[in-house]
């Protein structure tokens, strides 16, 4: 499943022959990206510089070779900082509030504004919420279906902290790794998914 630019171009919807060399175009595109963005608010131009994960996923169109993937996933896993006191579940109500908020880190947000979890943008969580995205899998009844063992808590905490440790080119951001969410906030989100009292684990979906 090694997809590269070359194969993408072959699949290209406009599929005509290459006008210039492959590396030439890559270099040009990168130069354009580095040149044509301007700092605005908290969004500095440095944000367009890629780290190794981003560069790898871009290069392989999110399907890197297994060896590369494994190596980088291990690297990412090593970045996960679990709470020192070992407490992984917080307040699911605070988590739900956080999950509803799509704010944070855009140039129209202020540095001091609270960052949201953005969860509903991509996932179904509470079966009662109509406005949820489908970029990520449904997480409704997540804890009800899986329990909330210490292992499960650790998995969920780690996954929110740095999803790239589990699936290198996942769409999901690395909320803890990049400092978007704090330890307390991630705990609250773990509770949202795993606490039996959480809205995620209550309520049947609405009947048609």
């Amino acid at each position: 499943m090694k997809k590269t630019w070359m194969s993408l171009l072959a699949l290209s919807v406009c599929g005509s022959a290459l006008a210039a060399g492959q590396t030439g175009l890559d270099a040009k595109a990168t130069a354009v990206i580095k040149r044509d963005f301007r700092e605005k608010g908290i969004a500095k131009v440095e944000r367009v510089n890629q780290d190794e994960v981003q560069a790898t996923c871009t290069k392989y169109l999110d399907h890197p070779p297994h060896a590369v993937q494994d190596k980088l996933e291990k690297q990412q896993a090593a970045t996960i900082k679990y709470p020192a006191d070992g407490k992984l579940m917080g307040d699911w109500k605070a988590g739900e509030k956080l999950a509803q908020s799509g704010r944070g880190m855009t140039w129209s947000d202020k540095a001091e504004d609270p960052v949201g979890g953005n969860c509903y943008n991509c996932h179904q969580l509470s079966p009662k919420e109509i406005a949820y995205g489908t970029i990520g899998p449904s997480l409704a009844h997540f804890g009800r279906n899986r329990g909330n063992t210490p292992e499960m808590q650790k998995y969920v905490y780690g996954r929110i902290y740095n999803a790239k440790a589990f699936n290198l080119c996942t769409n999901m951001p690395r909320f803890g790794h990049v400092g978007a969410l704090t330890e307390t906030q991630i705990r609250d989100l773990v509770a949202l998914l795993l606490d039996p009292e959480s809205v995620v684990n209550k309520d049947e979906p609405a009947k048609k």
Partner: protein, 268 residues
């Protein structure tokens, strides 16, 4: 690591079907809502205003835009939008509608480019003239077939660069345009996300932009659309009319070829 992979598999195998009916129902109702508001698009008011701006002398040259060449000859507005972006020999650049309007406003009217670029988009307080002209020009291609040419090597190059920009992952959330727009049937909250890597996805989307945005009560140009996507990607701001924005527009516009242009549209 093994355990996590297994858990991941479990996560993905969650009982989606239980909720599917609910999701369909909401989608159906939202579709009905959109249908109900599709008549009476306030973008028509911006088209009217844009025509006035087009015909009103401005800048140090006290000239109108009526001699502006959008690719089909000076002053020809009809059908121009359906063929943009395109390569322009006079500027030796590929230009979309907005970067081309910048050229016309600076050369014909003598308006300094910096004056336009610093506030190209409408705000609640002040409506943008260039966005109104966009509404007018785009409206003059309504019903026409999208026919963006990639024959010129520079046009083809712009397309290829645009494609690379589309897949470029960066920023604090590791997003690319492709994160949201390269799979079928996805939504962000309740908003459908078109798959812009397919002809049908690009066609459905590109042909209804520029558009009146209901949530903002303002008409929005395609450059604005890209600008706001980058904002939500947590990127810095793309320069108005830059090669970056034109290349990305070229990628999307050419992917929309052969579809009937149906804008300006009405969006959430």
């Amino acid at each position: 690591m093994k355990t996590s992979r297994m858990l991941l598999a479990l996560t993905l195998a969650a009982p989606l079907s239980v909720f599917a009916a609910d999701e369909d129902r909401s989608a159906e109702e939202i579709a009905k809502y959109r249908e109900m508001i599709s008549d009476g698009n306030p973008a028509e008011l911006d088209e009217m205003r844009g025509e006035e701006v087009w015909k009103t002398p401005a800048g140090s040259n006290k000239a109108t835009l009526e001699k502006c060449d959008l690719g089909k000859g000076p002053g020809v507005v009809k059908g121009a939008y359906a063929e943009l972006p395109r390569y322009f020999p006079d500027t030796k650049r590929v230009q979309d509608l907005e970067s081309r309007l910048l050229t016309c406003m600076t050369t014909l009217q003598g308006i300094p480019e910096a004056d336009i670029v610093k506030a190209p988009f409408s705000t609640e307080k002040k409506k943008s003239d260039i966005e109104a002209v966009v509404a007018y020009v785009a409206g003059q291609s309504r019903g026409m077939k999208m026919a963006v040419s990639l024959k010129h090597p520079k046009a083809k190059e712009a397309y290829e660069i645009g494609k690379r920009i589309f897949y470029y992952r960066a920023g604090p959330y590791d997003f690319a345009c492709a994160t949201c727009h390269s799979e079928n049937g996805r939504r962000i909250r309740l908003q459908d996300l078109p798959n812009l890597t397919t002809n049908i996805g690009a066609q459905r989307t590109y042909t209804v932009w520029p558009a009146y945005r209901v949530s903002q009560g303002l008409f929005r140009s395609f450059q604005w659309r890209l600008n706001d996507c980058f904002r939500q990607q947590r990127f810095p701001e793309p320069v108005y009319g830059s090669e970056l924005t034109v290349a990305l527009t070229m990628f999307l516009a050419a992917n929309a070829n052969d579809a009937k242009y149906d804008g300006p549209g009405l969006k959430r």
